[in-house]
Symmetry: C2
Subunit: 454 residues, 2 copies
Amino acid sequence: MAGQPEHKTPGGSESPEIPGDAINVGLLGLGVVGGGVAATLLEQRDAIAARVGRPVNLKKALVRDAARARDAAIPTDLITTNPEEILADGDIRLVVEVIGGVSPATQYLKDALAGGKHVVTANKEVMAKHGPELLSLARQNRVNLLFEASVGGGIPIVGCLMKELQANQFRSIRSIINGTTNYILTRMANDHTDFHQALAEAQEQGYAEADPANDIEGIDAVYKLSILAGLAFHHRVAPEDIYRQGIAHLQPQDFRYASELGYAIKSLAIATLENEDIQARVYPALIPLGDMLAKVDGVYNAVEVEGGLCGRVLFHGRGAGRGPTTSAVVGDLLEIAAKLDSEPAPAPSAAPGAASPPERPWRIKSIDDLECKYFLRLNIADRPGVLAQIARILGEQNISIASVLQKDTNPAAQTAEIVITTHPARESSVQKSLELVANLEVVQEISSLLRIEE
Amino acid sequence: MAGQPEHKTPGGSESPEIPGDAINVGLLGLGVVGGGVAATLLEQRDAIAARVGRPVNLKKALVRDAARARDAAIPTDLITTNPEEILADGDIRLVVEVIGGVSPATQYLKDALAGGKHVVTANKEVMAKHGPELLSLARQNRVNLLFEASVGGGIPIVGCLMKELQANQFRSIRSIINGTTNYILTRMANDHTDFHQALAEAQEQGYAEADPANDIEGIDAVYKLSILAGLAFHHRVAPEDIYRQGIAHLQPQDFRYASELGYAIKSLAIATLENEDIQARVYPALIPLGDMLAKVDGVYNAVEVEGGLCGRVLFHGRGAGRGPTTSAVVGDLLEIAAKLDSEPAPAPSAAPGAASPPERPWRIKSIDDLECKYFLRLNIADRPGVLAQIARILGEQNISIASVLQKDTNPAAQTAEIVITTHPARESSVQKSLELVANLEVVQEISSLLRIEE
């Protein structure tokens, strides 16, 4: 669509060949993504009109500070600082929200839906926290609420779970859905930089914010996993249902040991459905080097879903940035626009999600019940019998050791670093045994506890 | 959807909670995929009704031989050998075609569309050869024609090009879309088997047909690439516009040399749009080992599209088989069913593709104009000055040599095998120089000519 060679002046009049009234769009937010959406609507006006069947007209764009410099291509008369110029305008049938954050975005979305406007949002935090309520409001008002851009940027996973892959019952989602952490971990793995250096680089490159907590502590990934799990399992998985661990404690030697053992370390967002139990977690974990997810490098994202019919399907692409997010937002916008009829309220059957399946009877399982292999890195006193003491405690908790690496002996301090991998064990047993191990006089520090996801 | 624990007797009555008349479906073909579709519709009846908003009822299934043994779960009164019982039944609003082949499927599809029935097809050959005509017939009759299952099995690439990624102008498609050849090439690369042995194994495993020509000669991939390129570039790319080379001439040493040079060999289906020129080709080629496509093994498929906004997005999954193909067919079917209103003919705006963008002004470029690096394997006389003669001919055609490997000298026959890689060169120049090289008295055989896709 973006390929029409000729295009009209931004804000120009309707193409004469295109029948039908224009569809007026209100844009909430004109930052990086909002600018991309506005530019696409203005520059690709004719191509979009040809695709949709009538013009799609950017009527107003909400900004916080009207004085701030904008892309010169956006006419100033489109810009407003008053949300009511969009939310209360009966001629605007479709609202795009790219402000981010919970407030005031949530209220804007509610007002738009309650006012019978279709909505496209890129807001993962709002969809994770208030998605069910907003989707229900959309159904009541017989309008669409689409949110492809809320997860995975240019990766079309949201739409695929709702449409192309809807015939499947999904058993698992395994994903890398935070580009910032993946960039940091890739640097740490490939170039042996430490966490703080890799983070500083990510900030220089513009991949990490000045306050990086949302990314490196896994909060952003939790929001996204909450959205994906809800779509895949037809059951609410709230952010607080998801176990979360950040990446700041990882050290270069974790990557070195993992690699020796045949694994990469990636921050994974995983949700599984097994025997009516959903378990969801975001943490750095070891995955076999041969796994496709181990090959996802830098700021790229990947999502692998496993469905009853389709088997494992993996999506790989850019998870953030102006272009990919604009692709997702405009894709949603065109999908709604192409189906809008001339009536103000479309028939319920025309609204995707109108006939949403009922919530399933699944239970949310605690991280304590997780069963997987573990990777432990410990600093211990370098003397005989230490491993035996640790092994005894693990054995008493029914944890069987798979391998032991002893490295980096420090003769001056008389300490050594050991890495233990286990056979599948229960999280609660592992945690309990680690408490006991930490209390051993010969153990200086439990430096890492990572799960092995195979 | 497939997860509802309880389900009714196949063919049972409508769920009382679900309002609305049932949507009657006719199924053309009851082979592996047809059986999967029928089983899903019958076994997941309640879950589908909840999702769609009313029951989806499998009314008839066309078979060639009524006496053949079927899945016991399919009631015999649903089976017919007369296509008119589906095509002429006004109560059937949606037809699923999973027969395959051009005839009689094309006529059935035309009859169904002309009769105002929505159609879901898995037929790549028909969509590649007659897609534009059928889509136009669908638009005239204000019905949907969806064909997710025609390319990539469980990979939702068809729908994503039409919907989720529609905001993009695409610059390229690079794909592995024939699982049979990918299985054979994976075996040849990993286990040094020769082509005939790997093919025999693929046949034993059920991955290759008794007559494997369609797969190993690249015909199947040409059909699929024709469909994908048409969707991505909004321009017809007919099967005959696509350059095609099979894999039967590859030998184990090609994989060995490629690997030494840092490449894998994969049968790629590639289409590019550059400066208004489309170029499309299916052939075995070298790709860098670090490329995601190099990691696609066995019967898996992968499609990577590059869009102006989304950048590179890669899809990876199972490209064939009952489950993945059923996932695609039922996904299309549910998408249509969820939007069907009670009127026999839906409004044009409700039909995806109703406002199809106009065909673009692109030109189809011949393989002669391709420019890439090349990999040549030659058998030559093992004596001084031979390489100089070959290098002179290449130089006269403006082809610059990047590397030369000389291996596998056979002292008895006084021959040697050399592998030459070139810097980017024009296909027509390479072909012309190879004619001249082949005529050299010192050259016994040009064993391989492969392109390097980077």
